[in-house]
């Protein structure tokens, strides 16, 4: 029986992101691009994997940032190719310019934007809802409730794009991206139409006169799509009627639908009806209104902003964000939804009396959630230590990546958005020009972030003569998001596809930086000296100086010398300097003994911490002893 099931339907357990990738390849997409970002990062590598397996002719590429990735897919779609760009929600902020402009174009090939949101947030700087961006640009958006649905929606999003000649959006949230579910697999389809760029300035050149024609057309398209969503998309928009007389209606989209369905089942409630919406923008308003008529009150569950709620002209009956029934920040976790639902339905369930016991246990044992930390052996830790010790009074703007965790070592002072390390430094250097705050400025940035947006800030600093030091923490990978390639790495995604390394040092020199030094990040002494020297140079010549701290990321699992270390308990004075400024999972503080010790559950014997202790207490271990 199992065997038959498997050969007939060909099921596999896929990560939501793999399901989306599978959909992209099966749908005959010809060009797929992305810039990594949690929770979207696994999509593009999976696209490449399936494309290889299924012999698709498609091109699959990382762009250096989201604007670049988006415009690459967009260009291909102008030629008639089914194209797709993938990014995380804040990536769309970077790609917003072309995204807004191309929304009103009369498209040729399909253009699908997959943008992953992160309610919570788990791994992001914002909790923004990309469906608002779809509304802002007046394009349609699909909001999947499961991995299987996300895959199915990819086909419809491509088809809708071709039918209405408009860009479309698929907006999964983290729980769809990172769910693991059984999904049906299909075959490779051929994309419809011919692929060839036809010159037509009236179509591909956007000038104000053109916009005055296109904007009313766009309004008509989105009105027609709303009508299509009312009637044709029953597989995504449907009612789950209650078995008994309904006391509450729930309009739910995305994973909130899946959660509330399981919760109601668990509660044994048969008097609550649900309207599931998979196309929240433009919302099929008539469908929602007629559902609402059947219930005395209606709860809206959606992440993260009230996109559906706000489209309803009459909200008096709605229990949602406008009246504070649903929280306006944070993820709608099962516990949160269960609490909202039971409150709405009557007095909430009392907390189990034992809960207090567990709370006390956690408190008495001093257990707190573990904060993310740089991995044991991470070269960034050594770099931050060197930078901070070289010039302790420096201001240290930083950037986005694993190295943002340098905050644990007091190694950085600001983190905002990719590339902002250099530009914030520029702003601070201007302040030092007009005030008597002359503190040195030493910024940090990762290799991927350098190419994403840092390079432009550096050109700006050269042009405007800003004295600052930029330390590029080059671990030869985009680590934070799971280890993707970037121009500093030079590899590409599809089998047999070769890229080229863009050398960071040469790039800096090409921008006009005259002081560029590359060193081994594990060499703390060299790092310290280089930082001091670079700042002196920058100050004297009134220009940015660059140091490249190079050492491969631990995730690459390369072979390296093992240097077993121990803390000499005689010499350790319990000052916690190593804990505060080196902050390694493998080096912990024993409160009872008031001494630092090696935690061999985590220590990887990189040996770097030997150069950390001011009292020389961290030394190489001889024999078996620690």
């Amino acid at each position: 029986m199992t065997e038959v099931l498997q050969t007939v339907t060909k099921k596999a357990i896929l990560l939501g992101n793999e399901a989306i990738a599978r959909g992209i390849v099966e749908a005959g997409c010809l060009v797929a691009t992305a810039y990594p970002g949690t929770p979207s990062s696994e999509i593009l590598p999976a696209v490449a994997k399936y494309a290889d397996e299924m012999n698709s002719p498609m091109a699959v590429e990382w762009g250096v940032n989201e604007k670049v990735a988006f415009e690459t897919a967009m260009g291909a779609s102008f030629a008639g190719a089914r194209s797709c760009a993938v990014m995380k929600q804040v990536g769309l902020n970077v790609a917003a310019d072309p995204f807004m402009s191309v929304a009103s174009y009369e498209m040729n090939g399909a253009l699908l934007l997959v943008v992953a949101d992160d309610p919570g947030p788990h791994s992001s700087q914002t909790e923004q809802d990309s469906r608002y961006f779809a509304m802002f640009a007046k394009i349609p958006c699909f909001d999947p409730a499961s991995a299987a649905e996300a895959k199915e929606m990819v086909f419809d999003a491509f088809a809708l794009s071709e039918r209405f000649k408009i860009m479309t959006m698929l907006r999964p949230t983290v729980r769809v991206d990172h769910c693991r579910q059984d999904v049906e697999l299909g075959e490779l389809q051929k994309q419809p139409g011919t692929v060839r760029f036809e010159k037509d300035a009236s179509r591909w050149v956007s000038l104000p006169a053109k916009v005055r024609i296109n904007h009313p057309k766009l309004n008509k398209k989105i009105a027609d799509i709303r009508e299509a969503f009312e009637t044709e998309f029953g597989k995504y928009n449907y009612e789950v009627p209650p078995k008994k007389e309904g006391v509450l209606g729930i309009v739910a989209s995305g994973v909130s639908f899946s959660l509330v369905t399981d919760i109601l089942k668990g509660m044994g409630r048969e008097d609550v009806g649900i309207l599931k919406i998979g196309t929240p923008q433009p919302l099929p308003v008539k469908m929602v209104a007629s559902f609402m008529e059947k219930y005395p009150k209606v709860l809206f569950l959606e992440e993260t902003y009230p996109v559906m709620e706000m489209q309803m002209p009459d909200r008096t009956k709605i229990l949602g964000r406008w009246n504070g029934v649903v929280p306006s920040a944070g993820e709608l976790l099962p516990e949160v939804i269960a609490e909202i639902v039971s409150k709405v339905l009557g007095p909430g369930a009392p907390e189990a009396p034992e809960t207090e016991m567990l709370k006390s246990a956690i408190q008495e044992l001093g257990i707190t959630p573990r904060k993310p930390m740089l991995c044991p052996g991470c070269p960034h830790r050594a770099s931050f230590f060197a930078i901070r010790q070289a010039i302790p009074n420096a201001i240290n703007p930083s950037d986005i990546g694993c190295y943002s965790l340098g905050v644990n070592q007091k190694g950085l002072d600001t983190v905002v958005a990719m590339g902002a390390s250099v530009t914030v430094s520029s702003g601070l250097s201007l302040v030092s020009r007009i005030t008597d705050d002359k503190r040195p400025i030493v910024a940090t940035i990762g290799d991927s972030t350098f190419f994403h947006m840092g390079l432009l800030g550096l050109v700006n600093a050269v042009y405007n003569k800003h004295p600052l030091v930029l330390a590029v923490l080059d671990n030869s990978i985009t680590a934070m998001t799971g280890g993707q390639a970037n121009p500093a790495v030079g590899t590409k995604l599809r089998k047999g596809d070769e890229g080229r390394v863009v050398d960071i040092e040469q790039a800096c020199r090409g921008c006009g930086v005259s002081h560029v030094v590359t060193l081994n990040a594990y060499d703390v002494a060299a790092g310290k000296a280089a930082v001091k020297e670079a700042w002196e140079y920058a100050k004297e010549h009134e220009e940015p100086a660059v140091i490249i701290f190079r050492y491969p990321c631990m995730l690459l699992r390369h072979e390296q010398a093992k240097i077993r270390v121990m803390v000499d308990q005689e010499k350790c004075v319990g000052c916690k300097f190593c804990i505060n400024f080196f902050n390694c999972p493998g080096l912990v503080f024993n409160d009872a003994a008031n001494k630092a010790v090696i935690d061999d559950r985590f220590c990887v014997s990189c040996g770097v911490c030997r150069s950390v202790c001011p009292h020389g207490a961290i030394v190489e271990a001889s024999g078996e002893g620690r």
Binding site: H122, S123, D262, L358, P369, D600
Partner: protein, 186 residues
């Protein structure tokens, strides 16, 4: 059956749900689960949800998990509320004293939680040269070896074998067996 798997980023907890998923799909069962990727993976607290059967959502509600598999005892305690009454905790212990805490003991008793602990770090130090990346397989061995969950030891062994890169296959089988032998009732 609903599982929660907790640990610290970098301990390799994702492999465990992959193994369970493989067994379920081979049996033709539906599964849904949720994983942690990104920032938290860097040494922070991580949690995987895993459900087998007819569920729509990938998340386990507090108080409904049948089994909590913990790679770290602190994470076990922090997430104990996920277990239903009478649920089972499989936990890697590095400091047994914590389990003597009175509040913790009374919670475990009040909820009728079955605790199966093993000293994973000691075992791996002794038998695997201190390679703690084998914790995931060790815990799978402990769980299936003790007859917890609805998978037999043999099924788990087959799935681990299928999913192991060939150079780790032999070691993985050895560790699985270590886990099976180690689980004792606490």
């Amino acid at each position: 059956m609903q599982y929660i798997i907790v640990g610290i980023g970098g301990q390799g907890i994702l492999f465990s749900s992959k193994v369970l998923g493989k067994i379920a799909i081979d049996r033709g069962l539906s599964v849904a689960g949720s994983e942690v990727h990104g920032m938290a993976q860097r040494g922070g607290s991580v949690i995987s949800h895993f459900k087998i059967g007819e569920y729509k959502s990938p998340l386990v509600q507090v108080g409904e998990a049948d089994i909590l598999v913990a790679f770290d005892q602190n994470e076990a305690v922090r997430n104990l509320q996920y277990l239903r009454k009478g649920g089972t905790l499989v936990v890697n212990v590095h400091d047994e004293k914590a389990f003597e805490n009175a509040s913790l003991r009374s919670y475990i008793e009040a909820r009728g939680i079955d605790v199966r602990s093993l000293k994973g770090y000691d075992l791996l130090k002794k038998h695997m040269g201190g390679n703690f990346l084998f914790l995931n397989v060790l815990l799978l061995g402990a769980m299936s070896g003790a007859g917890i969950g609805d998978f037999s030891y043999d099924e788990v062994a087959k799935a681990v074998k299928d999913l192991s890169p060939s150079k780790f296959e032999e070691d993985n089988m050895k560790v699985l067996e270590l886990g099976r032998e180690a689980t004792h009732k606490k």
